[in-house]
Structure formats: C-alpha cells, structure tokens
Amino acid sequence: MSWSGKVCVGCGVLLWLTFATPVQAAEETAETEETAEESGLRLKWGLEVKTHYRDSDLNRFAVPFPFTPEQLPVGETRGFQETVNPGSHLEISTATLLLDATWSETLQAHGKIDFIDLYDRNPTSTDKKVDVDEIWLRFGRETDPATLSERSGLYLKIGKLPHFERQDDRHLESYGLVSTAFNRFEDTGAELGIDLGRHVYVKVSATQGNPVFIRDPNALAGDNGTPDQMRLNPDPELGTGIVILYDAEVEDLDLDGDLEMGAGLGLRFADEGGRNGIDVLAWGYQRTLAETVELEGTFYGGDLDLLRGPADLFPFPALEGDEKREVGANLWLYIGGFSLFGQYVDQELAGLPRTGIEGEVAWSFDLPLVWALGGRQLFPYIAPAVRYSKLDNDFRNPRQTPAPSLAWDWEKLDAGVRLGIVQGIDLTLEYADNSFILGSGAEAENNELLTTLRWRT
C-alpha cells in the first residue's frame, strides 16, 4: 500500500475511534475519575496524532565552502543549502502520548512522549524516533498566562519541561522564527514560580541549557552531519534545509556542566473567569557555552564546536568568549475569542548578537449549531491566525561556511485558519512566506504550504 493509502486508512481508523465511543467514553472516564478521587490519585491520558499535506518550494543556494569532490554528489561541483524535502507530501508527523497524574491541586506529574516525531525530530531525521518531550513533577499551583492566581503562592517544577516564556497556545501548526530559535524545545532542570499576590509573579529556572545547533524554520529540520553525509559522494534523501541557529532539544541528562540560569518578572490582570486578561513578562537567561555537545543523529557538535565551523577552522569572525545571554519580553492579551502573543528577544551568542521579534494574532469564532455527529457539533469553531516574525543576525559569516544562511536576516509571515471539525479533530490550513536577505543583498524565499489534520483524545 502506498504512503497516501496508509494515511487515508489511518485517518479512517481515527475518525471511527472518534465517533464510536463519545458519550460512553465520557461516562466511563467519569466513573474512573470518581474511583481515583477516592484514593487521591487521578490519572488522565490522551493521544494526539497529526497528519499533514505539505507542499514545500524547491530552493537551492550555493555555499562558499571548499567541499572536496568526494564530499559532493556525483556530478556536483559545489555544495548547496537546499529545501529539506521539496514538493507535495502526505505524511503522519506525530503520534503523541500524554499522561497526567494528579494527587492533589498541589502535586501533579506530566509526561509527553512523541512517536514518529517527524517535524520535531531533532536535530536531524536520524535522531531518535521515540522521544520523551516532557516529563516533570510539579509541587504547588501554576497559573496560566493572563490568568489571575488565586492567592500568593509558589510552585516547583522538576524534570524536562518547557521554557516559561514559551507560547504554549499557538494557533497554527508552524513556528515563528523567534520561537524556533529561542524556546521551541524543552530543557531539563528545575523551575520555581512565585505568585506575589494575584498580579505579580516571578519565575526562576536552573536548567541544563539547550545546545546550540541549526535547523530549517519550516516544518522539517533538515539533515546536517548525518551518517549519509559521511559516505563517498553522498546524495542524501533529505536536504540540509535553509537553516538558522536555534536552541535544540536537550538530548540527555547532564547537569555536570554550567547550568543555564533564567529569571522573569511578570505582571498580569484578568477577569475572574479567565476569558479576558493581559500579561507582560520580562525575562533573561545566561549560561556558558560548552566546547562541544554531542547530539544524536549528527556528527556535528553543538555550542562552540558548531560556531567554530567544521574542524574549528571556519569560525564566525566576531566569535568571542563563551557566554550565551538572552533578554526578552513577552505580551499575552486575551479578549474573549481574540488573542495576541508578542515576544522580543535580544541574544548574544559568544559575541554574536542577534535580535528577534514575533507576534501572533488569532480570533476564534464559535459557529452556530447546524449539524451534529455522535452527540458533538460539527464545525464548532473557526479561528484565523496570522504570525509575523523577524530575526536580525547582527554578525557576518566567515568567508567560507557550509551554512551562510546562519547570518542572513530573516522574515516570516505565517497565515492560516484552523477549523474545528468536531471535538477532538481540527484542520489547520496555513502558508509560510519565509524570506531572507542573502549575503549579496538579494532577497530570496523558501515558502511552504501546510495542511494539518489533528486528532486528540
């Protein structure tokens, strides 16, 4: 059976599972929860599966790097940065298992395990196919962004956990340049949150620190330093991608080195129901870059090893020191179905400065009840969204580099709409207008259309 056939069968199975047991499942869940409540432990699990139709433009940009003939595909005389997987593709990108264990309002554990993990595969396609994205234990109550806390209090979260400044309720499947570069992936360590009254809050974190690596800001990360590329005249299936520097996912637990310290101070106002609220957060991180970080799926090392280029012979000219520092600010605004998220980041990466700005606007509209299926409304909502992001890399490339895109200035406009099909299933259609300024000063693009069918229990 072809891949598209498998995807269609898979979708059919998911739709059957969705409609076959709506009310009974709810009643069974209620019984389970009642039983568990008696013992103080409540367990909840969920599944999430995403299938995509992706259409990626084909783009290639020659790179000023002295590859030897053996390092290039047969017939090629130059190396290229190119779209990871151009053309039209139907694929299942993610199957995720979510687990929540709640003992009380102040003690909760959470796990998120990705299977397949095609778009989050990090940093290359030869990375692990099964990945524990999050696993943490939290003591205390944590307040959602732009929601008032009930009272002063604190929480402590330990494990592999998301950055506290990350936008968690994105309204498109894609990521902006800033979220990709600075806080897309989880880190390992501890986070302390303190609510000083209902409006003021503080965040402090001590974590391992995400290794600096490179990926394409579109759906697929790109293959760089994969075993395929070690062969004679490699002609790998997946391209390098048009890459940016980003904070990659933490691969293994290693708290021996310097920790990354983070802190934030926030102020929020909201109504009691949590539908309308505003939240501003100023934050910063600092850590010492490692000489190298081993990453599964690539023979390139992360952190300074990456910034010094292959064999440490092609460093960025402005490279200096080993400090990685970010300061930034977030804004969350919710008014009924309208939401606005904004983030600004100023980073210095071993003497390489760059800034980024990102903003997403979305509006979710409830649709009138016209059709129903299995006790659920068909098409309950529609939510258009637009995201703009910009990355200004204020440093020059080395004269020779296999990845000149790292120093280009980028702009990305993602626009799309999410349609609720039925509770638990939604369809997102979006287009990424991804443009950058080449070293020559010319403007180029690497655009992508993405359609996502998401099923969640």
């Binding site: 009643e27 309720d169 109504d271 129901g273 539908r275 009138p368 006790g375």
Partner: protein, 234 residues
C-alpha cells in the same frame, strides 16, 4: 323546624356568604408599575438588555407560602441556549432540563445549596432538580461557556414579568405591608417597602444596567473554560 324558620335561616346564611365574598374582594390589592432599564451612568435606555427578562415580586409581611405545582417546570437546551433564559418558580418546585439539541450538554449550577450537576447527556427528556431553597440559581453548561440562564426560587406566589414596555401588574395581593423586588440579571436587585393599598398611581422603577449579559464564570470544577496550554488550546 317549621317552614318560616328555615327560610329565615337560609336568608341569614345567604347574607353571611355574600358579606364574606365581598370582604375577600375588598382585601385583594393590585400593584402596577413600570420598570425602566437605564444604561450605565443613568443616561438613556440600556441597549441590548431585555426588560421582559426582569422579575417583579411582592413578599407580604405576613408570608404567603407558595404551592409548588405537581408537574415540573422546564428549562430546555436548544441551539446552544437555555429556553427560557429566566424561569421563576415557587420554592419546592421541580425543574426538568430536556435537551433538544443533537449535541451533548452538561447543565450545572454552583449556586450554594441549590447547586446541581446533571452530567453530560444527549438529546432527550433530561433530568429533574428540586429546588428547596429560595434564591437566584445561575445555570450554566460545562461544555458551552456562553450558555447561561437563571432560576428564581421564590417564597411568594406573587410574581410577574414586565411586558416589552416594562409595564407590570401584580394582582390578588393581600393588604398590609410588604416588600417589592425588581430583579434583572444585569442590574443590582431593587427593593422597596410598599404598603398596600398603593394609594393610586403607578410605581416607576428605574434601574441601571451594571453587569454584562454573559457573566464571568468558571466551569463546574472551578476552572477557566479556556486553558492556555498546548493541550487545552483548540
């Protein structure tokens, strides 16, 4: 008893019954008035607020216990709304919540001793709830945040709702002191001591809209309907 005595007794009984009926009629009072909903600040009429959803009720100083009917009242979920939006019932009444929609609803209230939770249920006759405590019961749906309704559980049988012009009339009220209350979901309750008879004229009640039509509320678990994490986000 001879025929003459019988006739005399019948006449006496007739006059006694007539006097009693006349006496009762003489002690049943009316209360008329008009309710005006004003915009915030009291300048002009409130827009988007329906005066017909107000409830006007009179509580005599000597309480008149209401009698709940044998059949339950109904509050229906239809097209993701409650119908009626405002239901007034005597204390001790039962209310049934049929679901006319082809989708699941979960009707609940967290209004003190009148709290209830019907759980998720599909189209059908629904369940009944008995309201043994007087007060205002705010009714919500745990699935649909925008669904809201009110049940006023009253200790008096004397209540009505104004017409589209805001005019109301309460009839059959007992003489003597009592308290008149005007309730509307968007205003603070208005009350006044009103001795009956009213002494002619009409009562003019002007109240300012100070609350939104969709009140701020949480779900039945005390949580926001909207989660702002990647799992709850739709």
């Amino acid at each position: 008893m001879n025929r003459r005595a019988t006739s005399l007794l019948s006449l006496v009984l007739f006059f006694a019954a007539s006097s009693f009926a006349a006496g009762r009629a003489a002690h049943a009072e009316d209360l008329r008035g008009r309710v005006q909903l004003l915009a915030k600040g009291g300048k002009g009429p409130a827009r988007g607020s329906d005066v017909r959803e107000a409830v006007v009720y009179f509580e005599p100083a000597a309480p008149a216990a209401p009698r709940p009917p044998a059949t339950p009242f109904q509050m229906v979920t239809e097209k993701k709304e409650f119908e009626p939006r405002v239901l007034t019932v005597p204390r001790g009444s039962r209310v049934r919540f049929p679901n006319m929609d082809p989708i699941l609803h979960n009707v609940f209230s967290v209004s003190g001793e009148n709290s209830f939770d019907l759980g998720l249920y599909r189209k059908g006759p629904g369940k009944e709830v008995k309201f043994d405590r007087s007060g205002v019961v705010r009714v919500f749906c745990n699935v649909h945040h925008d669904m809201v309704a009110y049940i006023l559980v009253l200790d008096t049988p004397f209540f009505t709702s104004p017409d589209a012009k805001g005019e109301f009339r309460l009839t059959g009220l007992p003489r003597g002191p009592g308290r008149l209350t005007v309730w509307h979901e968007q205003v603070e309750p208005w009350t006044a001591d009103v001795p009956l008879p009213q002494g002619g004229g009409s009562l003019n009640v002007r109240v300012e809209v100070s609350k939104p039509r969709l009140p701020v509320h949480l779900n039945k678990s005390g949580q926001s309907y909207q989660r702002r994490d990647r799992y709850g986000n739709q």
